[in-house]
Amino acid sequence: MKVLVPVKRVIDYNVKVRVKADQTGVELANVKMSMNPFDEIAIEEAIRMKEAGKAEEVIAVSIGPQQAQETIRTALAMGADRGVHVLHDGVVEPLAVAKMLKAIVEKEGPTVVILGKQAIDDDCNQTGQMLSALLGWSQATFASKIEVGDGELTVTREVDAGLETIKVKTPAIVTTDLRLNEPRYASLPNIMKAKKKPIEAMSPADLGVDPTPRLATLKVVEPAKRAGGVKVADVAELVSKLKNEAKVI
């Protein structure tokens, strides 16, 4: 089976993000960019499926600017076989991404698509679910364990109450949670090999998708600074403050 893994180029998780002075977004100039950590986990899982003989090919897909190719190369250096790059500058929203991925899925015919549960930049947590709906495939989100069976996957999911284990029929969509695996180091030989692996380039138009955003960002602001706490003398003062200042009771 083929496994398709979408990978997103995001601000590195170590970077302290700053809001742009004009409040239109966050500062991207001189900022280190990396693969979304949940997507790294997705790539790792796909490569493990291949190493276990359960998958024949791992395809990494990225939608984004020219530099998104680097994100694909990172996936190739970890062990993915080939890449698909949909060149697009500017914002793409989850629905547009899901539509483009649907077109790529129809072209490539994977049995499983593994996505990060969310990207750490916009934290949408929508693309996997939308793709599942558009394709009419089963979905298993927030996976912390995946077992590949015959025509089905057994997936352990991290839910509020604990762990839930479900069986889904393939083809299926899986989204990864943090504890699914620990992504590997790209080894030096694999980094060298990645240079020679093919990346197919295309545009949203080639996939018949209009990526124009449907949402307008009004402004982006820093979270309010946490104000220092105050000590109250007694219960009466506390109740009075909650009632009159905080107005919560």
Binding site: R73, A77, Y185, A186, S187, L188, P189, I191, M192, K195
Partner: protein, 389 residues
Amino acid sequence: MDFSIDHETRLLLETVKRFVKTELQPLEADLDRSGTLPPETARAIFEKSKALGLYGMNMPAKLGGAGLNAVDMCLVEEQTGQTSDILVRRAFGNVYEVLLACDGARIARWLLPAVTGERVCSIAITEPGAGSDAAGIKTQARRDGDGWRLNGQKHFISDGEFSDFFVVSAVTDPDAGARGISLFLVDKQTPGFTVGRNQPMMGLRGTSHVELFFEDVALGSENLLGAEGRGLRLALETLGRIRLAHIGARSVGMAARILGLMTEHARARRQFGQPIGDFQMIQSMLADSAIEINAARLMILNTAWEIDQGLDPREKISMAKTYGAETYCRVADRAVQLFGGLGYCQDLPIERFYRDSRITRIYDGTSEIHRTVIARGLLKDGPDFIARH
């Protein structure tokens, strides 16, 4: 002038950085305390690194190395330098480029096993009576039929306890001065060759530094490395690049790690009701460290670039080695000061960095010898080499 680093190199740096941080740095404290790296730990880090293709990265690809150029190698060494010497040796290998002078049967016997890490090599030039004056050695190799008889003594030979073979300098023509010195490949188990005691050091705990004794050691013609009488030249030609990477780049790497800790501490430590980073004298320590690290780094990378262009930047190697080492020492010293009592206390790694830093101004050519090289270059050819174009 393009200072960008290509994506493959960045990926490699990420891998090395993560390896150093997760696999090696956690071993440092125990290693420093006990003074020894358990053989099973040494084996484990070697195997992990080897599986990632990170052993012997400076060696040519056709021999099984990574074939990194000097610039990339220096960038990698900035990362490897951020941990203890012996961990770098076991994980990544100090595979000396002088071994590339191996030819014929020497390739299979010494060069290839050194590249794979199957056999480890130390360089043995220093003697009790010959440190900076490498031409003043007393160890002698006399012709004996087709081969040689080796007699003499070496000391301070880094990693000698662990190494399987040694590149040993010896006088082959006592009347020819520096041109009468040759290099020999000497296996540890050769009869007449004994490894003496480990000479305990101020820092670099875990790395052995040993005495070597040669008593009428019988060597064959195959033990000679390079041409007879060309030993010192061969050593100087090939150790330059190593010096730049092992001392210069690793020093910059460690200095940067220390500056990271200093910065964190300056933000978190509060005295007189404010973070100590608010005090200008602390800021001055931080800023001077950053300036010097940046300068040393650019010096090293520029020198490496000249090596990759096929130039012979020997004075620049001396500048980069000296400035890198002295920067590391100054930064480590400031770190002790900035951390105060905590910096002097063995509960934190700062005092270890301070001890480890000190040798960099001494080994691989003292700061004084390198300044002599720079001054001689200036007096002979003028200052044009500084801004070659």
